[in-house]
């Protein structure tokens, strides 16, 4: 049995612990917001948090989550109220949308550790997340916008 929490809920699963966390999240837990893109930590579409740190779930064995707290895109906020989600809405970031869960999860760690990120900080945090539609300029703007929202007190 493998036990951990997902978006605050305790789960105990009978899965092969070497299965990548991505597939456990998608197939066993039914949380399909986390995406498969490459299976080799090249694209970032599968990014989740384990104990608050960004992890490419496509290469992390499920056992890595054992006893830890996993957050997926579904747990970023219950109601799109996370400043990043609000900024993403205001900048109309997504096109096809497939990579955006991973983009947001990466950006969330960036913003927590660097509340006022520079463009270089964004480059250093977000270069592991590919967007084939080319939404990078908007992601950049949205991260800056979210940072401003947080600076102004989080709520607007």
């Amino acid at each position: 049995m493998l036990g951990f929490s997902v978006n605050g809920k305790r789960v105990d699963l009978d899965v092969d612990p070497s299965t990548p966390l991505l597939w456990v999240i998608r197939e066993h837990l039914g949380l399909t917001g986390t995406k498969y893109g490459c299976g080799m930590a090249q694209c970032g579409a599968c990014t989740v948090h384990i104990n608050g740190e960004a992890v490419r779930s496509c290469v992390a064995p499920a056992s890595r989550a054992s006893g830890k707290a996993v957050t997926t895109i579904e747990g970023l906020s219950p109601d799109l109220s996370n400043p990043l989600q609000r900024a993403w809405l205001e900048e109309d970031v997504p096109q096809c949308g497939y990579c955006q869960s991973g983009q947001l999860m990466s950006a969330a760690v960036l913003l927590r550790e660097k509340p006022s990120p520079t463009d270089d900080d964004i480059d250093e945090a977000m270069t592991g997340n590919i967007c084939r539609c080319g939404t990078y300029p908007r992601i950049r703007r949205a991260i800056h916008r979210a940072a401003e929202m947080v600076a102004k007190g989080g709520a607007q």
Partner: protein, 207 residues
């Protein structure tokens, strides 16, 4: 005079090698430690040219080691030592930055399959406060730098040898995962040479 010198060196070296065979036999035993401390006189002689250090330096200079001990504020990849893709940085403590930390992709073990992120416990770079950059150093400088507690995370010689021969991240160099060249020396041979060097008082090559 010169001939004698060579002869003495040869004999001393043979003794040390024999001693080392024993050390390997008893590896991890207390006996090994005693034996390593034994040939103290050998040290001074060998320090003349640092051959004991250069004997294992190809391992330190191999891309598996050098890619994390290289110039710049980032790790490198591949046998050509190209900068790590995805703009990965050293970060404030050597574990990457924000959402691109080492552990974002690297596990505590290698993953099956080529081109998948390699892994070992504590996958990281030296911290920026003590970046342990070896690239561009001469053998002499490299030797001095790894011995210098101000540059090696306050390790004394024993701790340094332990790091070089037992640290799980360093050991990864012998088991780097599918598609990567391991360091160019068997681990036992490397460990023996490091300990031989230690036993000789860790002599460094002359400049």
């Amino acid at each position: 005079m010169k001939r004698l010198h060579i002869m003495v060196r040869f004999c001393l070296a043979s003794l040390i090698v024999l001693g080392f065979a024993g050390a390997l036999w008893f590896s991890h035993s207390a006996a090994a430690a005693e034996r390593l401390d034994a040939p103290k006189n050998a040290a001074a002689a060998a320090s003349d040219d640092g051959a004991l250090f250069t004997a294992f330096v190809p391992v330190l200079r191999h891309p598996r080691c050098m890619n994390c001990h290289s110039q710049g504020d980032y790790p490198r990849q591949g046998d050509d030592g190209h900068p790590h893709t995805m703009n990965v940085r050293r970060g404030p403590v050597g574990f990457g930055v924000t959402s691109e930390k080492c552990s974002t992709c690297h596990q505590d073990h290698n993953l099956a399959g080529s081109h998948l992120p390699p892994g070992a416990p504590g996958w990281h770079l030296p911290p920026p406060s003590m970046p342990m950059i070896w690239q561009g150093l001469t053998d002499a400088q490299l030797c001095e730098s790894i011995k210098d507690p101000k540059q090696n995370r306050n390790r004394n010689l024993d701790q340094l040898v332990e790091h070089l021969t037992e640290d799980k991240l360093v050991m990864w160099g012998w088991n780097p995962g599918e598609g990567r060249t391991p360091v160019p020396m068997l681990h036992d041979e490397f460990a023996a040479k490091v300990k031989q060097w230690q036993a000789a008082g860790a002599p460094c090559p002359a400049r």
